[in-house]
């Protein structure tokens, strides 16, 4: 007797809704063991985590602010993965966008109205170019895209460090970070006395725009067709290489916008700690959203909530803040397994030879 996975003919609606919830619960149960190890109460820790994420206007805004870059990187990865361009390089593309924004934002003499549009455009282009490089390497030289995008993250990171420790070093502070961008280049604050900036709104709007692009335009159709079956797409007359290239630029540009938001709305400069791995988290968010660009929004808010909530939890219960990383990784594993059961079912079969 053994267990086998069988494809389902169709998925009942209640499974589609209950399985992700179940996955989430399983994650929390699995991680509660770690909380016990830290000598804290499981209920208290999770309550503190929830309160830290949603408990007050301030906390909720912090969660949204943290979600903004994750929405952008999640979109970047979702778009790229749809075309089976395995872009693991959102981290580097984010940094490229951030550096472009910091460069433009610190230029004196530009018309005041032009700062924000220019930063957005240049940030998009910078991120897009940094993704175009591995796309060309893949299409022309058959370099594996996973490896190339991954390696280029480190190249961009050290490039940024070299800049902020050298030519871009802030003469005022003397620390290895770039000079602040001008006041006129900062994203306006949307809610008085909070850090809720324009970038958060832009992230939501972009998600809707990308969703429209993916579902309602020929380019979106081409991207999905190439991802589902490149050979069939080529037979159907689609310029596969060009579609992959455009997808890569679009994906990199979206990741670049995450960087623009962090510079223009939050830090007003670039420094080593600009991104705590938003590019990598974007991969997980895109997968949790099942590469659905609208689903990226709740997935990003969920991850941001865990990250902000974990800080409060750590302060009040003494559980190390890194629990957030474990919860995030574990939730991905649980969600993957849960989603599997929406398309497959588990059957017990007799021991006949197959």
């Amino acid at each position: 007797m053994r267990l086998v996975l069988e494809p389902r003919a169709h998925t009942p609606t209640w499974l589609n809704i209950s399985l992700p919830v179940l996955a989430l619960l399983a994650t929390l149960v699995l991680c509660s063991g770690l909380i016990l190890l830290a000598g804290a109460g499981v209920i208290q820790a999770y309550t503190a985590l929830f309160k830290g994420a949603f408990g007050s206007k301030f906390n909720f805004v912090e969660t949204l602010v943290k979600a903004a870059p994750l929405i952008f990187t999640g979109l970047a990865v979702a778009v790229a993965f749809r075309a089976k361009f395995w872009n693991i390089g959102a981290e580097g593309q984010l940094l490229a966008g951030a550096m472009a924004a910091a460069f433009i934002g610190a230029r004196e003499g530009l018309p005041i109205w032009s700062f924000i549009p220019l930063m957005i455009i240049c940030g998009f282009i910078a991120g897009g170019l940094w993704a175009a490089l591995p796309a060309v390497l893949k299409l022309r030289y058959r370099v594996d895209d996973v490896v190339a995008t991954l390696m280029l993250n480190f190249v961009m990171f050290y490039l940024m460090l070299a800049l902020v420790d050298g030519p871009w070093k802030d003469p005022l502070s003397g620390y290895p970070d770039s000079p602040d961008i001008l006041m006129d280049a900062e994203y306006p604050i949307l809610l008085h006395n909070t850090r809720l900036h324009l970038g958060v709104l832009l992230a939501g709007i972009t998600a809707v725009l990308v969703w429209l692009l993916m579902t309602r335009t020929t380019l979106g159709f081409a991207i999905r067709a190439v991802g589902e079956n490149a050979r069939a797409a080529a037979h159907g007359g689609l310029p596969v290489a060009r579609v992959v290239f455009v997808t890569a630029v679009l994906s990199g540009g979206l990741a670049g916008l995450a960087g623009v938001g962090e510079v223009a709305g939050l830090h007003f400069q670039v420094m080593a700690s600009l991104s705590p791995g938003y590019g990598y988290t974007g991969i997980v968010i895109a997968m949790l959203a099942r590469l659905n660009t609208l689903g990226v929004i709740p997935a990003a808010i969920f991850f941001a909530a865990i990250a902000t909530g974990a800080e409060t939890m750590s302060r009040t219960t003494g559980v190390p803040v890194f629990l957030a990383d474990v919860i995030q990784g574990m939730s991905l594993i649980c969600m993957l397994v849960a989603l599997l059961f929406t398309t497959y079912r588990l059957r017990i079969r007799g021991s006949e030879k197959v």
Binding site: V146, M151, Y158, A162, D165, G329, L336
Partner: protein, 298 residues
């Protein structure tokens, strides 16, 4: 150069085994990090470095098996499964370290391995100190290369592994248990990742820091491609990478070339990309890499 290459050699050979079996194991970075943490803690409390290495290997095997559960049994995406394992393992490593050691002002450290000179051979001028004056782990790493080549090319198990990675359907009809072979490959790779990671915290830095691996696991993925899934070529690739890494350290300290030191840190990653652009055209990955195998789909 040899000292820098040795830990990468463990991890690269591990990745080679799993990819030869048809599974891309992106858990490498996280498993190395967790191996470094667990190995360090075990060595710190037992006072025995070998116990540390052993525990790190066991940890790696556990997560290799988990990778098998996700990608082989359940047939989930290898990219995403690997990345999620990396996330969980790095999270666990940081969490565990904070739990065990708190936030010390001075990171705790262990007595590192002592260099083990091979008598007579290490007295040979130039080559002696370069080749025969290292930690025991370095020798083990390099002995692993012929061992891996033997396993892969000269044993029935190696033949099975290669067939499973190239054509799992054919392997299955020849009576090979595809899933089990892949599990074995993944557990071997996990063990080698764990040892490679522990090498950093036990032999190289003598302490665990959050940046102890910092991308070196990912480099090994590239080294496998450069080494074209062959143990000997992988060893050459690891040595070359070690040479570039050693060179950048030398250039940095010599001050001959006046560049910011970050440029040198970038060099190994840049060289890897360039080398892949030059060499990857001829590389041919195992045919069944990334493709889950299900019996029904025959």
């Amino acid at each position: 150069m040899i000292r820098v290459a040795a830990p990468l050699l463990f991890a690269t050979l591990g990745e080679m085994f799993s990819e030869r079996g048809g599974v891309l194991n992106l858990g490498i970075e996280g498993i190395m990090l967790l191996g470094a943490m667990v190995g360090f803690s075990a060595a710190y409390f037992s006072g025995n470095l070998w116990i540390g290495i052993f525990t790190a290997a066991l940890t790696g095997i556990t997560f290799g098996a988990l990778m098998g559960l996700l990608t082989v049994t359940l047939g989930l995406s290898q990219h995403v499964s690997g990345l999620s394992i990396t996330m969980v393992c790095s999270g666990l490593a940081f969490y565990g370290y904070r739990l065990v050691f708190g936030q010390p002002s001075q990171p705790p450290n262990v007595e590192p391995f002592e260099a083990l000179s091979v008598p007579l051979l290490s007295d040979i001028p130039f080559f002696g100190p370069v080749l025969f004056d290292h930690f025991a782990l370095v020798y083990i790493g390099f002995l692993l290369v012929p061992l891996a080549a033997f396993l892969l090319y000269r044993t029935p198990w190696g033949l099975n592994l290669r067939t499973v990675g190239e054509n799992p359907q054919a392997a299955a009809s020849a009576g090979v248990r595809v899933a089990w072979v892949r599990y074995q490959a993944l557990m071997i790779s996990g063990a080698l990742f764990g040892i490679g990671g522990a090498y950093f915290s036990l032999a190289q830095f003598n302490a665990f820091t959050f940046g102890v691996i910092s991308g070196r696991g990912w480099v090994c993925i590239a080294l496998v491609v450069l080494g074209r899934w062959d143990p000997w070529r992988c060893a050459v690739a690891a040595l070359l990478f070690g040479a570039v890494d050693a060179l950048q350290l030398r250039l940095q300290s010599s001050g001959v070339i006046d560049l910011p030191y970050q440029i040198f840190l970038m060099l190994p990653f840049l060289v890897t990309v360039v080398a892949m652009a030059v060499l990857a055209r001829n590389a041919r990955a195992p045919a069944a890499l990334l493709i889950p195998y299900r019996r029904e789909e025959r």
